[in-house]
């Protein structure tokens, strides 16, 4: 016997409303494709360009706890801010992000990265210098590559010293799209 979509929706909503979830997630359609959004009670913890939840569920459960459930309500604010960003009415995100699970070095890199404003770019070496580790450009690249909340924590704003896009976990086409959207493409 099949559970009605209404009953299913009610359960998912109550589970979040009663504060029983370690992680809530949902999918969002954006100009750079379908995204998987996930949040803990502390804030947004994941934006994945791979909208196939199966692969992401285990990763989330290992990092934050097994009570992972699809539930739209806790992601509403993230969805709204992303919509506004892609519509062009938002330049900075006000969302809280949850980066507790990350190593200290990566948190340091990402905390500095959010100071690179909409429309600007920084180089890997430049970002390394800004955190006082001028020779750690490669390690900075690694930390950005594993950024759990791309777009909101804007790793697309970091480019090579010659202005080349270099790389992006979501693929170079997305990086180019985001930089063009922000009016920051160098050529």
């Amino acid at each position: 016997m099949t559970v009605s979509s209404e009953l299913d929706r009610r359960f998912r909503e109550s589970a979040a409303a009663e504060g029983l979830l370690d992680v809530a997630y949902d999918l969002a359609d954006t100009p750079v494709g379908a995204l998987l959004l996930a949040a803990t009670p502390e804030g947004l913890c994941r934006i994945s360009f791979d909208p196939e939840p199966e692969r992401e569920l285990d990763v989330l459960a290992r990092a934050f706890g097994a009570r992972v459930l699809r539930s739209p309500r806790p992601l509403e604010e993230a969805r709204r801010e992303l919509d506004e960003y892609f519509e062009g009415s938002r330049r900075d995100f006000d969302l809280r992000v949850d980066l507790r699970a990350l190593p200290v070095f990566q948190r340091t890199v990402l905390a500095e990265l959010v100071r690179v404003p909409f429309g600007a770019v920084e180089t890997y070496g430049g970002l390394a210098a800004r955190i006082g580790r001028p020779r750690a450009a490669r390690a900075v690249g690694g930390a950005l590559n594993r950024n759990p909340v791309p777009i909101v924590v804007p790793c697309h704003r970091v480019v090579g010293s010659t202005g080349s896009l270099v790389g992006y976990a979501g693929g170079l086409a997305r990086k180019e799209h985001l930089l063009a959207h922000e009016g920051a493409l160098l050529r």
Binding site: M1, T2, L7, F11, A15, L20, D22, L60, A61, A66
Partner: protein, 152 residues
């Protein structure tokens, strides 16, 4: 032996929700099963973070559902009153019996449905009813005897 990992709740819920809803509908009727379904999975979710391994999750959630259903019947339905029994599922022999089980006392009914509808072991049924496996076996067989007395 390595402990079975606890799956993300989403996967566990998706895997079990239809089966559990069917079970609750058998015990309570479709309408009352909706509230019981919600209560069952909220209770499961509350306890889920404290599980130590992912073994026997099916029996575990059936136990929760059984307790929710027994509470519900004690609270609402006068003992022995027949409830709507949804038919369906691929168990013809049991299906013939099933429409009669609504007349049984709550515990016997749960024991009969778990044993013959879901093929649960008496160990698991005992756990679900909060009794011993032997008491579960007795509840199921006394339920079946009662059905035979009434309907043959």
């Amino acid at each position: 032996m390595e402990a079975v990992a606890i799956p993300p709740f989403e996967r566990f819920y998706e895997e079990r929700k239809d089966e559990l809803f069917g079970y609750l509908a058998r015990l309570l009727g479709r309408e009352a099963a909706e509230d019981a379904f919600q209560e069952t999975f909220l209770r499961a979710l509350r306890a889920y973070g404290r599980l130590e391994h992912g073994q026997h999750l099916r029996a575990w959630v059936f136990t929760i559902a059984t307790r929710v259903a027994l509470d519900e019947r004690r609270r609402k339905v006068p003992a022995g009153e027949p409830v709507e029994i949804p038919v369906g599922d691929s168990r013809p022999a049991y299906a013939e019996l099933e429409h009669l089980a609504g007349e049984l006392p709550a515990t016997e009914r749960a024991a009969v449905v778990l044993r013959y509808g879901y093929d649960m072991s008496y160990d698991d049924i005992g756990a679900a009813l909060g009794s011993s496996p032997e008491a579960a076996r007795q509840a199921a067989s006394s339920g079946v005897r009662r059905l035979r007395r009434r309907h043959t």
